[in-house]
Symmetry: C2
Subunit: 276 residues, 2 copies
C-alpha cells in the first residue's frame, strides 16, 4: 500500500503542501538508483525533479502565462522569482531541472519557458477529470472554470443520489456511481476527484482504481489506501485551518511573552533587553 503524499506543501504542504505543502514531504521522484537502460536524457531529467520543485514549476507556469498575456517577451530569473514569491537561486535551480533555456545576460524567453514547463509537467495533452460526489464542493468543482482552461476538462460527474442522475451540472449530466467503470473508460478519465462525505471516500477510491484511474485528488478528510501505482494528493481544508490555528496560538504566546518582557523592563530590570 502506498502512502499518500502530504502537502506540503508542504507542503507542504501545500501545499503547500500543502504541500503544503507540503511539506513538505520532499519525496524524490526516482525511487531507486537503478540505471535506466534505454532512457533519453529528457526522461532522465524528468525523473530527478524533486516533488517540491514540481509544485513550484506549476506556480511559475501560471505567472508566466500572466506575463505572456501582458505581452512580456523576456523575463529574468530575478523578476520571475519576485513575482512567484521564491528565492531567485532556487528558481534558477528549478528551471535547470527543466533544461537550459535561458540566455545569459538577458534572461528567459517567456514563450519558450512556458512550452518547456508544460512539456515537463505533461500538459501538452489534456487530462480528463471525473468528479465523484456532487454536493456543495462537487458543484463548485464542476463549475470551476480554472480546470478546463488549463487543460483539465471535467468530463464526468458521479453521485449515489438517484435524484441527481441525469441533471446537468456545469453542462455535464450526472451519472450514477455504478456506471463509474464504463463511463471512465469511455471518456478516458485520467484524474479522479473525490468530493464525497468521509465514510464513502475509500469505497469510491477503490472503484476509481478499478476503473483504471491512476491519479486521485482527495478532498475527503480520510487517509486513502491505494495500490503502489496510484498517485493520491489530498486537500484537507480542516488541516489547513488547524495549521493556521497553530500560528494564531504561537502568535498569542509571543505576544504574551513580549508583554512579560515589557513589564519586566518597566519594572526596572535595568537596560538589558534580550534582542529578538
Amino acid at each position: 500500500m502506498a502512502v499518500q503524499r502530504g502537502r506540503g506543501r508542504d507542503g507542504t504542504p501545500n501545499s503547500p503542501a500543502d504541500a503544503v505543502t507540503e511539506p513538505i514531504p520532499a519525496v524524490r521522484v526516482n525511487g531507486n538508483g537503478a540505471p535506466t537502460p534505454g532512457g533519453r536524457d529528457v526522461r532522465e531529467r524528468a525523473r530527478a525533479i524533486p516533488e517540491a520543485a514540481v509544485a513550484r514549476l506549476a506556480v511559475y507556469l501560471r505567472v508566466l502565462s500572466g506575463m505572456a498575456e501582458q505581452g512580456v517577451g523576456t523575463i529574468s530569473s530575478e523578476e520571475l522569482s519576485v513575482a512567484s514569491g521564491v528565492n531567485s537561486a532556487k528558481l534558477r535551480k528549478d528551471l535547470s531541472y527543466v533544461g537550459s533555456y535561458g540566455t545569459r545576460g538577458v534572461g528567459y524567453e517567456v514563450a519558450v519557458l512556458i512550452e518547456e514547463i508544460e512539456r515537463i509537467l505533461g500538459l501538452t495533452r489534456n487530462h480528463s477529470v471525473a468528479v465523484v460526489g456532487i454536493g456543495n464542493l462537487g458543484h463548485a468543482l464542476a463549475n470551476y472554470g480554472g480546470f478546463p482552461s488549463r487543460g483539465f476538462p471535467v468530463v464526468a460527474l458521479f453521485d449515489v443520489d438517484e435524484d441527481l442522475v441525469g441533471i446537468p451540472v456545469g453542462g455535464i449530466p450526472v451519472n450514477h456511481i455504478d456506471e463509474i467503470g464504463t463511463v471512465c473508460a469511455a471518456r478516458d478519465v485520467s484524474i479522479g476527484v473525490i468530493a464525497t462525505p468521509p465514510p464513502a471516500a475509500q469505497a469510491v477510491c477503490d472503484r476509481l482504481v478499478s476503473a483504471g484511474v491512476r491519479c486521485i485528488l482527495n478532498f475527503a478528510p480520510v487517509v486513502l489506501q491505494v495500490p503502489d501505482d496510484v498517485e493520491v494528493r489530498k486537500v484537507d481544508l480542516a488541516v489547513e485551518m488547524q495549521i493556521l490555528s497553530f500560528h494564531v496560538a504561537r502568535r498569542a504566546d509571543e505576544a504574551s511573552a513580549a508583554e512579560m518582557n515589557d513589564t519586566a523592563e518597566v519594572a526596572g530590570v535595568d537596560g538589558m533587553v534580550i534582542p529578538r
Copy 2:
C-alpha cells in the same frame, strides 16, 4: 514582505503542501536562536515544532477523533502510524514535540493525546472564520459542515455583488465587502478565507489585513503580498492537478521505457534484465 508558505505543501505538503508539500517549505517556527527570557517550557516546545510536523499532527488528531468515537481507549504508535499513513518513528518524534504522554510498553491514551494535540494546535478556543467571495466555492465553504464541527465557525461572508448582500448562505447573511473592517472586528474574525476571482484577491487580502486578520487561507491562484506578521496558506487546485499530471507523464514515460526493455528482451539481449 513575507513569502507565503507552500503546501505542500508538498503541498505542497500540503502539502500535501505544499505542496505539495510545500511543499515543501520546511520553515522552522523559531526564526532566531535567541533565548526567550520568561518562556515556559510549553511555549519553548511549541516554537520548535517544524511546520511539516504541525500538518501531520492535525492528521493524527483526526484519526484519533475517529478512534475515540469507536471507543478505542489506547493506541500504540504503530497502529496510529498505519492509520495515518506515516512512518511510526516519525509519528513518535512528532508526538514528542507535543510532550511525553505515552506509556512505554502500552501506548498512548487516546483522550489524552487528543487533548494535548488540541492544546498545541491552539484548538482549545474557537477561531472565527470569514469567507470573502461568495461564488461557487464560497457557497461550498459557507455550507461546509467540517469547519464549525472542528472549532472553526464561519461567522461572516462578504462579496462585492450588491445583489448578494443580505441573502443568507449557510445561515449567515452576506455583507458587502466595504463592511469588512467593522464586521470582522465586531465578530472577532481571526481567519480570513479568500475565494474570489484572481484579480480581486490581492485587494481583498489587503482589506482583511487592515481589518486585523492575521491568518489567511487563499484559494485564488495568486501569490499574495502580505506583511511579515501575516500567515498565508494557499490551496491551489490547478497546481494540484498539474502535479498529478506530472506523475501521469512520468508514468507514461516509465511504461514506454519498460516497453522498450521488453522489446529488447524479446529481441534476445540475453537474460540480463536490470532489476527495478
